[in-house]
């Protein structure tokens, strides 16, 4: 390092640190702004059928709906691709319509989580049926929702 810069050390060092701190703060500000706006638009709430009938959803609001697939409720539409089934928390039920491949672990009587929007006709249009690959296949959210409605049996898992 040259003699001149050594001579200017204290001021330059402070200045240098000021730049670094300013850059850091700017970055934090940008990140905070990004996170906050992203949270505003992109958080998806999880509801059970009981919850969803009580909540006022904005039209078109994306939510997750989870529960058990009701026995004998799975039907294929004529196009062969669309599936309709009923999700229940043993308290309330919601019909779900989904066009796509069902995950490998999708079964009647088992837990499932779907993501989509509630139509004005009360049918839930799922854009995704989620396969969380827990080996017992009981999504945590569904287990908690069932516990809340008092229908959780330990044997169910």
């Amino acid at each position: 390092m040259s003699a001149t810069s050594t001579g200017r050390t204290p001021a330059t060092r402070k200045k240098k640190r000021l730049y670094a701190v300013l850059a850091g703060l700017t970055m934090l500000g940008v990140a905070a702004a990004l996170v906050l706006t992203a949270f505003e638009d992109n958080i998806v709430f999880f509801y059970s059928p009981t919850d969803i009938t009580q909540k006022d959803l904005r039209p078109g609001q994306t939510v997750r709906l989870g529960g058990l697939v009701e026995a004998d409720s799975v039907k294929k539409a004529d196009d062969g691709v669309t599936t309709e089934f009923v999700i229940t928390d043993t308290n309330k039920t919601i019909s779900v319509r989904y066009a796509g491949l069902l995950p490998d672990l999708f079964r009647e009587g088992q837990g499932v989580v779907t993501q989509g929007t509630l139509g004005s006709d009360g049918i839930f249009l799922a854009s995704e049926v989620l396969a969380k690959h827990d080996e017992n296949y009981m999504p945590k959210e569904v287990a908690d929702a069932l516990k809340k409605s008092g229908n959780w049996k330990e044997t169910e898992k």
Binding site: R13, N42, A99, D104
Partner: protein, 663 residues
């Protein structure tokens, strides 16, 4: 008998770890050389003990010894040998043994190859490493003994989770762990340096190869996991921003920042406290990742443990390790001396920008991953934070990173001239503009982000090549001279070029994957076709086939482009007999630029099947780019500077690192 030997070896390792945690540390504090000298042999013994334990477990799995509970629950005699072996770490207990094995491996390697380390630094580093090992060995022995016996033994085992019976996932955990856990050694070096109160260029040179080694494996492990998700889960995605994926990605982001800031410490003796902090944070994020995936707070294929006792134990380890190291940092870091000065526009400045962007990106991933857990714990509200959140936060931070990455390596140390650099990069700007224009033309009306993403990738690739070209004198020297210079260039320079180029390729692949894919889903019978993006997928027939421990239906598709056959795809639906679970095996044809991807869905009756087909342009580049990055790391690791260049620590500060107030 073998299982008992393994159990005993683990206990021995625990005792050795305890001694190694205390004696060398005390020796270093009191200047007792014989105590310090115990560090290296005990690190090697600790490694041998854990290796014996792991070997015994491996043996029990490979011979299907179902008297061991762990084997009975996670393996089956019908599994092919490779999956019997990979079952060893395909469960909670076994994966924790692998964890401590790798901790001990890194300790052992430092003991073996760290001959040129100053004795006190070596003793303290190995001691800290051993403290971490002690905590995890205690965890295994107290809550997760893999060698527990079962009486009477079952006739056959419960089989490994079928989704894990795949070559990608057989290799993914060991790779990922070497990376994840390998950062422990950077952590130990950082803690040792804090205790010593000294960080200098020599320290950075010792730490960098270990960090780089861990980074190489972590990158490879994440890539393997992503590749597995792509072809095994059958959803056609390569990255889901799943909390479990994020758990391994966060240490990668901060570890990458650490790699870069260590360069500044080495070359310019600056950014010391920041580098120490990054080393602590990287391993802390590895620990948090372990907690997230192992405690059962997340539901996923990785969550083996749902035993709350284990979760609490890991949480306690986490609090002690992270809390303790940060407290030590707060206390000791101000004592470290600051180093070289530099202007904002300089190589140092660009590396700071790199660090700020990477750590900020990590912070957004951290918030998106942990906020749902926190909200659930505090209010009981259940939310999920999915890809849209990360696309809105993480991606915008990558754009300035890529732009700056084009300039960074061209800037000189201390003070640089941005105008001159821009001039030298004019050609890269042209490339970026041309690529953007072509991409926009091809994809008109689809998404503007595709053109921007590819333009940025073009910019980065071009500027990396310009920088490398000017180093070896292309355009200035004769061909023979250029070749000589290229051969003589430090391996680290080659490594940097490859890693940055790989990043450009990966960014292009990620862009293509997210904005340009075509897909169709239809119910078809043999003879029917689905056409997407000029490709005609025809289902020929569906056969029943039998594997070692499953039965399957295999559909055969032919794919034609303008009437000529380009590929035959054979996706399967498998049923694994022992657990009665179904899996989907997708079939992929790749020509290096785009993938054709087919999945066979459920049978519909009357000979009809649901089929889903995709056209995925640029997706192969994701793995190609990642592989180039790994290659860059490996090349850089062979740099002679990292092997022989750092034998001695400078005794007195040279005039260059003039006395200066604390940074």
């Amino acid at each position: 008998m073998i299982a008992e030997i393994g159990h005993f070896a683990l206990m021995l390792a625990l005792v050795v770890a305890l001694v190694q945690s205390i004696l060398p540390m005390a020796g270093a504090a009191r200047g007792n050389h014989s105590w310090m000298a115990t560090a290296a042999p005990s690190a090697i013994v600790q490694f041998l003990c854990t290796a014996v334990a792991f070997g015994c477990l491996l043996y029990s799995f490979s011979v299907s010894d179902f008297t061991v509970i762990n084997v009975a629950q996670n393996s089956n005699s019908l599994q092919p040998m490779i999956y019997k072996v990979s079952s060893t770490w395909g469960n909670h207990e076994g994966s924790m043994v692998l964890w401590v094995l790798i901790l001990a491996l890194f300790g052992g390697m430092v003991a073996m190859f760290g001959g040129n380390l100053p004795p006190t630094l070596k003793a303290r580093t190995l001691s800290v490493q051993s403290m971490v090992a002690f905590g995890f060995l205690l965890f295994i022995l107290a809550t997760s003994n893999p060698f527990e016996r079962l009486n009477p033994p079952p006739i056959d085992g419960r089989d490994l989770n079928p989704l894990l019976q795949d070559i990608g996932l057989a290799l993914h955990p060991p790779m990922l762990y070497v990376g994840y856990v390998g950062f422990s050694i950077s952590f130990s070096f950082a803690i040792a340096a804090l205790i010593e109160g000294k960080v200098d260029a020599a320290w950075a040179r010792w730490v960098r190869p270990w960090t780089l080694l861990a980074w190489i494996f972590l990158t490879a492990g994440i890539l393997l996991g992503s590749w597995w998700a792509y072809y095994e889960l059958g959803w056609g995605g390569w990255w889901y921003w799943d909390p479990v994926e994020n758990a391994s990605f966060m240490p990668w982001l901060v570890g990458t920042a650490l790699l870069h800031s260590a360069i500044v410490v080495e070359k310019r003796d600056a950014l010391k406290t920041w580098t120490i902090l990054l080393a602590i944070l990287t391993f802390s994020l590895s620990l948090i990742g372990t907690f997230l995936v192992r405690s059962g707070v997340l539901t996923s294929v990785h969550a083996f443990a749902t035993d709350p006792e284990r979760g609490v134990f890991i949480l306690a380890l986490l609090v002690i390790a992270i809390g303790g190291s940060l407290a030590l940092y707060a206390w000791r870091a101000p004592a470290l001396k600051g180093g070289g000065l530099f202007a904002p526009i300089s190589r140092e400045g660009s590396l700071i920008l790199n660090n700020l962007l990477l750590t900020t990106a990590c912070a957004t991933v951290f918030i998106g991953t942990l906020y749902p857990l926190l909200l659930d714990a505090m209010t009981g509200d259940k939310i999920s934070v999915g890809p849209p959140f990360f696309n809105a936060t993480f991606v915008p931070l990558m754009i300035p990173l890529i732009i700056a990455l084009g300039f960074g390596p061209m800037l000189s140390w201390k003070r640089s001239d941005l105008k001159g650099v821009v001039q030298r990069l004019q050609f890269a700007l042209v490339v970026a503009a041309v690529v953007t224009a072509i991409a926009a033309y091809i994809t008109w009306g689809r998404s503007i982000f595709g053109a921007i993403g590819l333009g940025l990738s073009g910019w980065l690739a071009a500027s990396v090549l310009i920088e490398f070209g000017s180093r070896i004198g292309i355009g200035r020297a004769s061909a023979g001279d250029v070749l000589r210079r290229a051969v003589g260039l430090p391996r680290a320079a080659w490594g940097m070029m490859l890693a940055h180029l790989g990043f450009a390729v990966l960014a292009a692949g990620a862009t293509g994957a997210s904005v340009w894919q075509d897909e169709a889903i239809q119910s078809i019978k043999p003879g029917d076709s689905i056409t997407i993006a000029n490709y005609e997928f025809t289902l020929r027939n569906v056969d029943n086939v039998r594997g070692p421990n499953y039965v399957a239906q295999r559909g055969v598709f032919t794919v034609k482009e303008d009437g000529t056959l380009v590929a035959t795809l054979a996706p399967e639906r498998r049923r694994y007999l022992v657990q009665g679970t179904d899996t989907t095996e997708s079939a992929i044809y790749s020509n290096g630029i785009a993938d054709l991807y087919a999945v066979l869905g459920e049978p519909q009756g009357q000979g009809r099947w649901i089929a889903k087909v995709y056209f995925k342009p640029l997706v192969p580049w994701i793995w190609l780019g990642g592989t180039i990055m790994v290659l860059g790391g490996i090349v850089s690791l062979t740099d002679r500077r990292l092997r022989v260049g750092a034998p001695t620590r400078k005794q007195a500060p040279t005039p260059a690192s003039a006395p200066a107030p604390a940074e």
